[in-house]
């Protein structure tokens, strides 16, 4: 579905005094292949290049060298831009800065309106998208009166109305309270499970990564780790070196292992609980 081949990206800036061209390479050759229907999280701390990577999937940025293919279409070809954006929708961090319309239904209709779709079909899509994010009852509400979590769900509906195959979410929960985060994450997971939607979730929250099928860790514009959350979080030293958090239970298990206990890798509280109970059982 999504593929990056040796993706490099650099910002160019001209020094106003000397006229010298300054370049700053953000992404140093990224090779990724994301399968259709998968739920991938991209982890990395601020400035690691993860948002820059996300913008490449939507053809907002094009590579300085290398290629990005979305459903087989190259983002470099300007003819493909609208097809790519239709296939691969994008949700941004700040809910207030991506909502265009004052009323929920108009917001969701914005993308299909841009595509020149027949109003009857737009109506169907708006209804279906709002139902999919459980915001149907708010159809006529004002967007400014919604909570952060609700705004993000409306933003997701706005992308769903294009009927994409893939959604890229760039830290959609970073500005939300815990309740809003839960709402958004459960919506994303449901879309992935029930509609077989390919989801790329850019985040710096470990507990969100734990819930995905695959986690890619990016640091300083390079892929450092790539695998199932369990595999990735087993590299505790690497993650510590990058300065990323590790789920509390994973660290607990790690420390227990260092102290000589025979416990497996764990990423969820339930697993950890079971592992500890097992050890306690053996001791008796």
């Amino acid at each position: 579905m999504l593929e990056t081949i040796n993706l490099r990206f650099e910002f160019r800036d001209e020094d106003l005094e000397t006229g010298e061209i300054l370049t700053d390479e953000i992404l140093h050759g990224i090779d990724l292949k994301i399968e259709k229907g998968s739920f991938v999280t991209v982890l990395g701390h601020n400035g690691s290049g993860k948002s820059t990577l996300a913008k490449h999937f939507n053809a907002i940025l094009t590579p300085s060298s290398g290629n990005v293919l979305v459903g087989g279409l190259n983002t470099r070809d300007t003819k493909n831009v609208f097809d790519i954006r239709k296939r691969c929708g994008m949700v941004f961090q700040n809910p207030d800065n991506q909502i265009v319309a004052a009323i929920v239904e108009d917001e969701v209709a914005f993308a299909p309106e841009n595509l020149g779709i027949d109003p009857k079909i737009i109506r169907e899509r708006v209804d279906a998208s709002l139902k999919a994010v459980e915001m149907y009852d708010y159809m006529h509400s004002q967007t400014s009166k919604l909570s952060g979590g609700q705004k993000q769900r409306v933003a997701i509906a706005g992308v769903l109305a294009m009927e994409p195959e893939c959604i890229v979410l760039d830290e959609p929960t970073a500005m939300l309270d815990p309740r809003g985060r839960r709402e958004v994450i459960s919506t994303i997971k449901r879309l992935n499970k029930t509609k077989n939607m390919t989801v790329v979730l850019i985040t710096h929250y470990m507990d969100e990564a734990v819930q995905s099928d695959r986690t890619v860790v990016i640091d300083d514009g390079k892929v450092v780790l790539d695998g199932t959350p369990k595999e990735v979080f087993s590299h505790i030293e690497t993650l510590d070196k990058i300065g990323l958090d590790i789920p509390q239970v994973t660290r607990l298990m790690y420390k227990l292992r260092q102290d000589g206990f025979d416990v497996p890798e764990c990423i969820t509280v339930d697993e950890a609980k079971q592992a500890i109970l097992n050890i306690l059982g053996k001791r008796k």
Binding site: I60, M90, N94, N97, V100, A102, E113, R123
Partner: protein
């Protein structure tokens, strides 16, 4: 600070006025304003005020909302009325110190006061009963004949709708910045006008910077949802002018003609 101004603050309800086609509503509002300034004589004003009251009642919106909307403008309205009261030459009725109140002064003060109150109420009716987007859609349609002479009708409408959408967001932001600056010792209340105007700088600079940042992100978000000027856009809710709209417009126009006539006959 901005929260009390009702212009651009749509109230969702069901009423004849809410259902009326926004294009017709805009035209009728323009007509309303024109009529308000050409009527003569107290009978006409009373009838016109009664008509406005009827419209307010028909809108299914609490009169309290309209009164609240007038509040921020109280100063301007009173100021205009007082200026008219004191500065109109004519038959002197009362005289004190350097001021003299004339019969014509009282008359024009009352007229000015009524006009301004009715003007704000009448135009608020449009914005209270029409969602901002419907309003801009209607403006787009009304302006679209002008796109032949290169007037960017769609772009104007889009800019207006985004501006309307961001009013609450930026009002919140202003509030936050004001609190943040107050907590650092900024003083927005005391001093004369110049000091207070200067005190606005630490408020306005961060507000503008943040508005530009928001604009940048919004543009990216719009781009990512295929916003472009090349493909012909469609509309989710296309409004057609129906029979009910036309009969409403006719009733409104007739009422207004009668009201104008009263001023010239009696």
């Amino acid at each position: 600070m901005f929260k009390d101004i009702i212009i651009g603050q749509y109230i969702n309800a069901d009423s004849v006025l809410h259902r009326l086609d926004p294009k017709i509503k805009i035209i009728l509002t323009v007509l309303y304003v024109v009529v308000l300034f050409i009527i003569r004589g107290s009978v006409s004003y009373v009838l016109f005020a009664l008509m406005t009251l009827c419209l307010v009642l028909m809108s299914n919106i609490k009169p309290k909302v309209f009164i609240k909307g007038l509040k921020p403008l109280v100063f301007i309205i009173i100021f205009t009325a007082v200026m008219n009261l004191l500065l109109t030459p004519g038959t002197v009725m009362v005289r004190f110190w350097i001021f003299k109140i004339t019969y014509e002064g009282i008359r024009s003060a009352v007229i000015m006061f009524t006009r301004l109150v009715l003007l704000v109420t009448g135009t608020s009716l449009l914005t209270l009963t029409t969602s901002p987007l419907k309003l801009t859609d209607a403006i787009e349609t009304l302006l679209s004949p002008l796109s032949h002479i290169k007037v960017p009708a769609h772009e104007i409408a889009m800019m207006m709708s985004i501006a309307i959408r961001f009013i609450p967001t930026l009002a919140d932001e202003t509030d936050k910045i004001q609190k943040a600056q107050t907590s650092r010792g900024a003083d927005f209340q005391s001093g004369n006008i110049i000091t207070r105007a200067r005190a606005m700088i630490p408020l306005l600079v961060p507000l503008f910077i943040s508005a530009f940042r928001r604009a940048d992100e919004l543009a990216t978000a719009m781009d990512s949802r295929c916003y472009n000027a090349t493909i012909k856009r469609t509309k989710l809710n296309t409004s057609r002018i129906g029979k009910a709209d036309i009969s409403y417009a006719l009733v409104f126009i007739c009422t207004n003609i009668i009201i104008i006539m009263f001023g010239y006959i009696i």
